[in-house]
C-alpha cells in the first residue's frame, strides 16, 4: 500500500479520467484539471474520429471491474466492409470467430468515465487552464490567459494527461536532454455523418468498419448506438484529390459522385457537414523522457501521439496505465523508480505502435482494395488455423493480445517477409492452400 499523496492529473480525457480512478483506489487524493467545460454539459464538436476499444483497453477497465459497464455503450465490430467502386462489398474479418473490436463514441465514453471517476471521489475542475508546471515542486500554474495573472496549485505529484499538445510536456521539453519530434501527415481528416433510419436502425451493417479505399484517400464509417455512423474522410491537405481542391458545393458533390457513389443516399447532409466541420491535422509525436524525478510524469497522447489508423491511441494510453499501476504495486512509495520503470517499459512500445499506425494508412487506403493483399490475408488465416501456435497474424497480435507492441511489430515484419516469398511463388493463386505451401511456410519459419 502506498502512502497517500496529493496528485493532480492535467487533462480529463479518457486516459486522465481512468488514471484518476486507479490513483483514487490506490488511496490518493486526486484532482483532475481540464481547460474545457465539463463534456457532460456540452454538445460534441464534430471533429472526433470514433474510437475502437480492443483487448489492451479492456484489460485496464477489467482490472477495475468497469468492463461490462462500458461494453453496454459499444458496438462490436468483427470485420472490415470494403466498399469498392461498384456496389460490391467485400468483408475482411479481423480475427477468429468471436473476436471483435468495439466502436465507441469518444464523447459518450468520456462522459461515462468522468461519471465513474466522480463516483469514486475524484474531484474534477473544469474550465481551469494549466499553462505551466514547475517540475521540481510539482506546482501547477493556472490562469485565465497565457499572458495574464496566474496562481499556483501545489501537489506532490503531477500527471500530464493533456494530450498531443500537452503543456506539461511543453515545460519538460525545455530541459536539456529531452528528445522530441512532431511529424505531421500530409493527410488530414474531416468528420461526416450517416444518420439513422427513421425507425432507428443503421443504414449499413453496424458490426463492420466500413472503408472506401481509394489509394491516396479513403472514407471510413463506424457505427454509433443511436443508429447513426460517424464517418471520417481522410485525404491530403493539398494536391490532386485534396481538401484544398474541394472548395465549393459543386466540386464536392462531383467528387463524391465519382469516388463514393454509394454514399449519396446515406450521407444526406454532405455539403453542410463538409463545410461546417473543420479539417483536422494528424501528427505523430515522440518524446523522451516521460518523467521528471518522482514529481511529474506524462501519459497517453501527451507522450506518444499517434495517427489513428490502427485504432490504438486510447488502447495504448490505457495500457500505459496498466503498466504504471503494475510499477506502483511493485515499488510502493518509490515514485522515482515507478516512473523510471514505467517509461523504460513503455517507450519502445509507444514507438512501435506509432510505426504500426503510420503504416496502417497504406493498408487501409490501398491494400484493402488489392487482390494480392486479400490473398495474403487468406493464406495467413488458413495457415494460422492449421498452426495456431506458429502463426498469429499481426493485426491479432496488436489488437487481440497483450504482447508488447514492439514484439508484435518485429514478428509482424518477419511474417511479412515470409509472405512476400510465398506470394512470389508461381501460380500461388491456384495452389495457396496446398501442402507444399504449408511446408514452405513451416520451413521459412525455422
Amino acid at each position: 500500500m502506498q502512502s497517500q499523496k496529493k496528485i493532480a492529473v492535467v487533462g480529463a480525457g479518457l486516459v486522465g479520467s481512468l488514471l484518476a480512478i486507479y490513483l483514487k483506489r490506490a488511496g490518493h487524493r486526486v484532482d483532475v484539471y481540464d481547460r474545457s467545460p465539463d463534456i457532460r454539459t456540452v454538445e460534441f464538436s464534430g471533429r472526433s474520429i470514433n474510437l475502437v476499444m480492443s483487448d489492451r483497453g479492456w484489460k485496464a477497465l477489467e482490472n477495475l471491474g468497469l468492463e461490462q459497464e462500458i461494453k453496454k455503450i459499444g458496438i462490436p465490430v468483427d470485420k472490415r466492409a470494403i466498399h469498392l467502386g461498384s456496389e460490391s462489398l467485400n468483408y475482411q474479418y479481423y480475427g477468429k470467430e468471436g473476436e471483435a473490436i468495439f466502436s465507441l463514441s469518444r464523447g459518450i465514453l468520456n462522459r461515462k468515465m468522468i461519471d465513474l471517476a466522480e463516483a469514486e471521489g475524484v474531484k474534477f475542475i473544469f474550465e481551469s487552464k494549466i499553462w505551466d508546471v514547475t517540475l521540481s515542486t510539482a506546482t501547477l500554474h493556472e490562469g485565465e490567459t497565457e499572458r495574464g495573472e496566474w496562481h499556483d496549485l501545489d501537489y506532490d505529484i503531477v500527471f500530464g494527461a493533456d494530450g498531443a499538445f500537452s503543456r506539461v510536456r511543453h515545460r519538460m521539453q525545455r530541459q536539456s536532454m529531452f528528445d522530441y519530434s512532431q511529424d505531421f501527415l500530409k493527410i488530414g481528416y474531416k468528420e461526416l455523418h450517416i444518420p439513422a433510419n427513421a425507425d432507428g436502425t443503421h443504414k449499413l451493417d453496424k458490426n463492420s468498419l466500413h472503408i472506401w479505399p481509394r489509394g491516396e484517400f479513403m472514407l471510413m464509417a463506424l457505427a454509433n448506438l443511436n443508429g447513426s455512423f460517424t464517418c471520417t474522410l481522410f485525404m491530403p491537405h493539398e494536391g490532386l484529390n485534396s481538401f484544398e481542391q474541394l472548395k465549393d458545393q459543386e466540386t464536392l458533390e462531383a467528387f463524391f459522385a465519382k469516388h463514393f457513389p454509394d454514399t449519396k443516399e446515406v450521407i444526406p447532409n454532405l455539403v453542410q457537414d463538409f463545410f461546417k466541420n473543420p479539417t483536422s491535422y494528424l501528427v505523430t509525436m515522440r518524446c523522451y523522457p516521460w518523467a521528471f524525478k518522482d514529481k511529474v510524469a506524462l501519459i497517453g497522447d501527451a507522450c506518444h501521439a499517434i495517427v489513428p489508423f490502427y485504432g490504438h491511441g486510447m488502447n495504448a494510453g490505457f495500457e500505459d496505465i496498466t503498466v504504471l499501476v503494475e510499477m506502483m504495486e511493485k515499488y510502493g512509495d518509490d515514485w522515482e523508480t515507478i516512473f523510471d520503470e514505467y517509461q523504460k517499459s513503455r517507450k519502445p512500445n509507444a514507438d512501435a505502435i506509432a510505426e504500426l499506425s503510420y503504416r496502417n494508412f497504406m493498408e487501409m487506403s490501398s491494400k484493402t482494395a488489392d487482390e494480392k493483399f486479400h490473398l495474403q490475408k487468406k493464406i495467413e488465416k488458413w495457415f494460422a488455423a492449421k498452426h495456431p501456435e506458429k502463426w498469429k497474424p499481426l493485426y491479432s497480435r496488436v489488437t487481440f493480445s497483450h504482447q508488447p507492441y514492439s514484439e508484435a511489430l518485429a514478428e509482424g515484419d518477419k511474417q511479412n517477409a515470409i509472405m512476400q516469398e510465398i506470394l512470389a511463388i508461381d501460380n500461388i493463386e491456384q495452389i495457396w492452400d496446398t501442402e507444399p505451401i504449408e511446408h514452405r511456410i513451416l520451413e521459412l519459419l525455422k
Copy 2:
C-alpha cells in the same frame, strides 16, 4: 533592385550579423536584436568550441569583399594531428597541398562581424529580449521577462537567426503542419585551455587540429592567434568514462594521466578549468517549414542545429545566406517566393550536413585511431591523385567545394561502399597502390 523594407534580424551571432550586412547592402533598413550584452564589451564565457571556416563560409564573405579581413584573424589548419596513447603523432592531411580550413575564435569573429555590420549602417539593439513574434504581421514582442510587460516592434520582414533555441521558431512550431525534432547526443562537451608559451608561441603545432581519439570519448584542440589552444573534451554524460564519473580532482587527474598523458604539461589549469566550465549539451534540431509567407524566415542554427563534428555549423549557416541572396536577386520583391525557394533549396542540404556531422563523431573519436581507416584514406588519396576527375574524397567535397551537401553525402556513401569492397581484398595492405587495385576501383565506379 528590391524596394526598401524594414527588416529585423533576431540574433546578433555570426549568421545574424553577416545576414544584416547583405540586407543592408541590398538597400534595406536593418535592426539586429540580441538578448545578450554586446559581445564586444564582455569577456568570453568558456563554453565555446573553436570554429573552423571552410570554402562555403569563405564564399559568403568573399561576395562582400570581407574574406581577407577575416583571414587575418584565423589560423590555417591543413591536417589532423592524431595523439595516440604513446608519444607518437600521426598526421592526416585534409586535402591537397594548399587546402586548409581556418581556426577562428567564435568570440573574436563575432565581434569583428558586428563591427563590420555597424560600419555598414546596421543598427544593433543589445540586451533586448524578443520573446515572441506575430507571424502574420512580422511584429516582435520584446520585454524584460517572459511573463512581464511586453511591447511591440513592427517590421515588414523578420529573420530568426536566434540559434538552436530560437524563439522565432518556437512560435512557428505551434502552427499546424510544422515538423520538428530535437535529439540530444549522449555525448556532452567541456572547454579546456592550453596557454601559450612564455614567448607567445604555441605549445603544439598550430596548423593542426589535434585529436586524442579514445573511442567513446576524445579530446581535441584548435589554435588561437594569441598562442593558446582552445581544447574541447567530448565524452558521454553518464556511464563508464563519463562526465558523471569525473566528480573530484583525484578522479579527474587519474583519468587524464591514464588517457591523455601527453597533455599533463600543456593543460596546467586542468582541474580549475574542468570544474569551473560548464558541461554543455549537443543537439541535432531539424524542422520545416523555415518560413511564414513573405513575413518571417529562419536561418542558420535556428532551423538546422547540428553537432560540431564536421566543423560546419557556421559554414552551413553562411551558405544559407548565399542561397537566400541568390533568391533575392532572382525574385526581386516577391519575398514569398524568395523564402519558399530558399527553404526548398536548403532543407535537403541541412539534413545532409546534420547526418554527416553526426557520423563524424565516430570518425574522429574512433576511426582516426584505426589502421584500416588510415589505409582507406591512403588509397583514396592515391587514387584521387591519379584520377582527380573521378574521385574527390568526401571530406573535400564537404569542406573544399560548394557541391550541395546532399549530393556530397550521397556520393560519399557510394565511395565508401566501393572502399569497403577494396579493403576486403586479400593482402590489401601490401597491394593497395598497384594497378589491379586501380582497375578494380575504376570498374566499381562504373
